[in-house]
Structure formats: structure tokens, C-alpha cells
């Protein structure tokens, strides 16, 4: 299992959804759902992506797999730029990258049996015999811990956790290298979340998978991710190794986010000092000038309202986009991509 090599390299990824208005339906603006995001994911690691609802996490995940046509930027997976592939080549590439969706109910076709759902990628990408396909389906069901007897049942006959297993089995069908997990546990009951997370970890160990793990549950991300990217309003605010981030978040937003997470410990809770952010996230169609967090930042400075901070490596392996944090923020920023690459050379091994 090779580790330390970037499997996914994202550079300056932008995803803008146009807004049309007026009599002639002219484009009057865009929802800047993702606005210049760069990061790498190393082979075999799990990158956690956290942030508030609507900050663009899902959009990053989908653009990565080119389920959306990115507005700009490149996404190199396993040496090929996904963002630029022609349709046929893209289709051939699909087996290497898969996705697990947030809502296990919604992501399974209610009118297909479990076997058909798990077997669909096989139908699309192999010309195996029925027998071989169903053998593989059973194998996958074993792998994710679903009883083979369930093969002919329908999604609505399962519990949430079981449904999510079906979704994971489908993602695994073609032996992918890279899986985007878009809030795979958000819709599940606490007692079941753990089962799914454990399963994902087991599979990673066994199959050497690489994950982009999207979540807004920071405690779960702490458990599963190796490095964590904190997103705010379409941009990455901080990208750090897990332990460093949880021990000492650098970006004010990351701090606030972490402090807002309740801890299941009354003693701790009693002493915690929460940083309560005021107001709501601005609309991505109309982000504030300067730092996009300036409207809610508890330690906002005048410069933040004018100059957009750049994601910079402030400590080894830790990237922050904040005027307060970056030591030499006066200007002359290197491109974030370059810095990210730099970091990757020192990327920690698991």
C-alpha cells in the first residue's frame, strides 16, 4: 500500500452556479458555491471536510467526481485531470472514484432490489456473466455486513444503517481507489453512526481506500480523518492535521466551530467557554468583500474587510487563510496550490 503520494490533487477549483434574471433571462450573477479551493489527498488517507450547511462541502465532493461541470480549476485523480476528460474517458475512469451519499433513503432507487442496486456498476462497466455478477454482489454484501438473504429485498425494508451499507457496497463494487463520503452518517441515528464509521474504517484498512469524508459532525471527523479541511462560504479557512487542529485551531472560524460542538460530559460543558458566532452565513451569491468570514468574525480587523486572506502554510502542514494568523500577511502570497504541494512532501504517514 503506497502512502504519502497524492492520489487527488485539487487546484483552484471553482463551482459557480449562474443566476438568471430579467426579461431576457440574462445571467446576472452566480452562486459561488465553491470559490477557489485547493488541496491534496494522499493515497490511503482520509481527508475530513467540515463546515456549516451551505458552505459548499457537497459541491466540492460532486465537482471532484465531475458530477457537476466545474467552472474552473483542475482535479487530478490518479494522474488524470478529471475536470478535462472527454465523456468516454470519464466513464472509463468512473470505477476508480465513487461516492457514498448523505441520505441512504434518497440515494437508493426505491424500486430496485438490493442486488440490482449493488450490481448496477457491474452492469455498466463489466461484461460479466450473471452468475459472476451475483457472486460479486454476494461478496460485496458480505464485505459490508449485509446478510445475503437480503439480496431480493427493497431499500424500504431496511434500517438506515443497513441502507447506508447498501450504498457503500455499491460504491465498492468496482474496486475504487477513492471514495467521496458526503455526510454518510448525518441522517443516521447516533447508535448506528458508529457502525457505519467503523465499517468505513475497516474497509479502508482492508482495501487501502482513500476517503474524502464530508461531515459537519466534528467529533466524528476527529475520529476518522487524518487531516481536516474547514470550509467557510466556498473557501477553505484552515487545513491542518487532525490532532493539531483539535488541540489548537488557528483560524477564528475553526475555533468557533470547535467551541460550538457540545461535549457529552457535563463537567466539561460546565466550564467550556463557547465562542458564539453572531448572525448567519452570508449568501454565497453575494459574499462579503475581503475575508468572507469578516461579517461574523469575533476578532475582525479593518484589513479583513478589504483584503482577501490567502491560504498559507503557517506551521508545518498547517494552512490557514487569515490575516491574524499568517505571519507575513502583508502581501506577496505564493499560490496556495504551490504551498499545498510543498506540504504534501512532508505529509504525515498514517
Amino acid at each position: 500500500m503506497t502512502q504519502g503520494q497524492p492520489l487527488v490533487q485539487v487546484r483552484n477549483l471553482k463551482m459557480h452556479f449562474p443566476i438568471y434574471a430579467g426579461i431576457l433571462r440574462r445571467k446576472v450573477g452566480a452562486v459561488k458555491a465553491v470559490d477557489g479551493v485547493s488541496f491534496d489527498i494522499l493515497t490511503g488517507e482520509t481527508l475530513g471536510l467540515v463546515g456549516e450547511s451551505g458552505c459548499g462541502k457537497s459541491t466540492v465532493g460532486r465537482a471532484l467526481l465531475r458530477l457537476y461541470e466545474p467552472t474552473a480549476g483542475s482535479v487530478v485523480i490518479d494522474g488524470e485531470d478529471i475536470a478535462a476528460l472527454p465523456p468516454d474517458a470519464l466513464r472509463k475512469k468512473r470505477p476508480t472514484m465513487q461516492m457514498v451519499f448523505q441520505d441512504p433513503q434518497a440515494s437508493l432507487n426505491p424500486r430496485m432490489t438490493v442486488a440490482a442496486i449493488i450490481g448496477e456498476p457491474l452492469d455498466e462497466h463489466t461484461d460479466w456473466t450473471e452468475a459472476r455478477k451475483s457472486e460479486r454482489v454476494y461478496e460485496l454484501m458480505d464485505q459490508v455486513g449485509l446478510n445475503r438473504r437480503f439480496a431480493n429485498r427493497y431499500p424500504h425494508e431496511f434500517s438506515g444503517g443497513q441502507r447506508q451499507r447498501i450504498g457503500i457496497a455499491r460504491a465498492l463494487a468496482l474496486n475504487p481507489k477513492f471514495i467521496v463520503c458526503d455526510e454518510p452518517i448525518a441522517a443516521l441515528d447516533v447508535s448506528i453512526q458508529a457502525q457505519v464509521v467503523n465499517l468505513l474504517e475497516d474497509l479502508q484498512d482492508r482495501l487501502g481506500l482513500t476517503y474524502l469524508f464530508i461531515s459537519h459532525d466534528l467529533s466524528m471527523v476527529r475520529h476518522i480523518a487524518d487531516r481536516v479541511a474547514v470550509m467557510y462560504l466556498g473557501q477553505i479557512a484552515e487545513l491542518s492535521p487532525r490532532d493539531a487542529l483539535y488541540a489548537r485551531p488557528l483560524h477564528p472560524y475553526a475555533k468557533a466551530l470547535l467551541s460550538a460542538v457540545p461535549e457529552a460530559d457535563p463537567a466539561l460543558e460546565a466550564q467550556r467557554q463557547r465562542i458564539i458566532l453572531r448572525g448567519d452565513v452570508p449568501s454565497p451569491a453575494n459574499p462579503p468583500k475581503g475575508c468572507n468570514f469578516c461579517t461574523r468574525c469575533p476578532v475582525v480587523m479593518p484589513v479583513c474587510r478589504d483584503v482577501e486572506p490567502v491560504l498559507t502554510e503557517v506551521e508545518p502542514g498547517r494552512f490557514v487563510a487569515c490575516h491574524l494568523v499568517s505571519p507575513n500577511n502583508a502581501g506577496g502570497h505564493a499560490s496556495p496550490g504551490a504551498e499545498v504541494r510543498e506540504h504534501n512532501q512532508q505529509g504525515e504517514a498514517k
Binding site: A194, E201, L218, D280
Partner: protein
Amino acid sequence: MPDGAEPVLDVRGLKTVFKTRGGEVHAVNSVSFHLRPGELLGVVGESGSGKSVTMMSLIGLLPSPPAEVRAGEVLLGGRDLLKLSPRDLQAVRGAKVGFVFQDPMTSLNPVFTVGNQIMEPLIKHMGMTKPQAEQRAAELLALVGIPDAKKRLKSYPHQFSGGMRQRVMIAIALACDPDVLIADEPTTALDVTIQAQIIELVKDLRQKLGMAIVWITHDLGVIAGIADRVMVMYGGQVVEQAPVRELFTNPRHPYTRALLKTVPSLTGERAARLEVIQGQPPLLLGAPVACPFRARCAHAFDRCEAENPQRRAVDGLPVGQGHDVACHWTPEAAHG
């Protein structure tokens, strides 16, 4: 905490069943609890454990059919709510008992202004005139921290963000100064940062207004932060009940124990693997004769199969006052 005070709300032996095609679903089974003035009771339990149904049974919000409250008493200020006529019950709802629901996106009527919806109970229960109600509605909005309250009365729910809508819901629930506020997962649909805002708000309001609150959630973290006492529900029953610190430090029921372990923590040791509770929640079909948790319980033994455990006190205080648990198994026995 005024320990000896008369409870504002006293629920005894509440039983609610749903009549479905598949049979009777015993969603709430002999649930008893009480609420003292100014106290915040946290209710936790996994999805389907009967938290919402319990609370809605109290004030007759369940659709009937299929729901039917079979037994029990709900004493609020000395009156049994279950025996009230529909009219009298209406006078209680919103006036004596405020309700905040989980999903702020759908819980407000999309076609009426926020002001209109806050004013409704004011006019109905407090007999206010429209201008009075409007005045009060603006105060309430300001109270729950919505800036520019007077103007925002004219806004429609969709013009508010999720957090603001939940504030509006709280404002509605608080409108008539209720004795009891029931919050059914009020922050589950919200982001952590917004959740933090709402929690702070409620803490704040509690201080100011001093009402008793029931806070339903399945997030143990939230409970740890705000509750005085915690009630754990499983399979339509109360399986454990204790003051908050006691519960987190000394959980007695295997389900509570497992639940506490499944939650990863932000701080402290990072476990290599998360604990899981295997198996499925019970279907609740038919009256329970055995412990509902037995199928998933690591400590289950013959008796669990044969007899549904009663709540018993752990710390010597009467059941419901201190720490009690409904389980045949005792950790001490296991160790000993």
C-alpha cells in the same frame, strides 16, 4: 434547584398506542416523570424510542385515529390534561404549555407573516387586541434576539434563516408565558454554530423567565450542557433517569452505557474503534412482556426475556426523584 418544590407537570403511567394495519404499536408504555418549576429535563433516546409521542400525548396533539392514549394522568397545575374537553385542552396548549418542534423549516406556516403567527396565541389566550398583540410580538422577537424586531414581524418565514425561524418558534412558544416549555429536538436540524446560539438563548431565557423545560434530543452533548436531569428512553419506556452528572458519570442501564460509548469525543483519547450497539430497535408491536432492550443487550439473561423490568431507585431516593433505572441487571452483580 428547589428540590422539594411541587412539580408543575406530573406525568404518571402514560400509555399511548397506535392502531395500525400491522397491529397495535405500543409507542409509549407506562411513562412517568415530573418537572419542577425552573427545571430543565433532558430526554434522550434513539429515534423511535417514543420521545415525541410522549410529549405530544400530554396535550393531545397526536392524530386520533390512529393514536390512542390508553392510560395515565398528566397533572398540570392540579388538573389532569387527559380528562379535559377538547376546548379546555386548547386553552392549555400554547398558554400553559409551549411547544417547539424539530424542523423550523416546516413548522411555520409559509403563507402567513411571522408576526401574524406570533400574535395568534396572544389574541386567543391573552385576549389581547391586535395592536397590543403586535407590540408584544415585537417584544418577544427582540427577546429571542432577532434584531429590528418590529420590522421583521412583517416578514414571511421563508425570509428567515433556519436559526432565526427556530427563534421565532421559541418566541411563539413563549408568547403566553407558559409554565412548561417542551422543546422537541429544537436544534437537530441546525448547524453547530447556530445550535450553540439557540442553546445560549434558551439558557438565557430560562434565567430570565424561570419556566420549566423539557428538552428532547438524541445528542448527549447538548444534554450534558444544559440539562438538570436526564431521562433516557428506549422502546417506549423510561429506562433510566438521573441528575445529569450522575447519569454521565454513573450510568446504570446497559443501553445508557452503550449510548455514551458510541459518541466520539472532541477531546481526550481518540478510540481506535467506536463502540456500537448491535441490532435493531424493537418494533413495539403488542404489549411488552419482556425488556425491550434484551435483544441488543450484552448482559441479558433469562429474566429479561420473561419480565419487563420496573424502574427501581439506585440511590435510595424515591423513583423519579433521584437516580432510577429499569433493568434486572446490576453492574455490581456483574463485577461481583
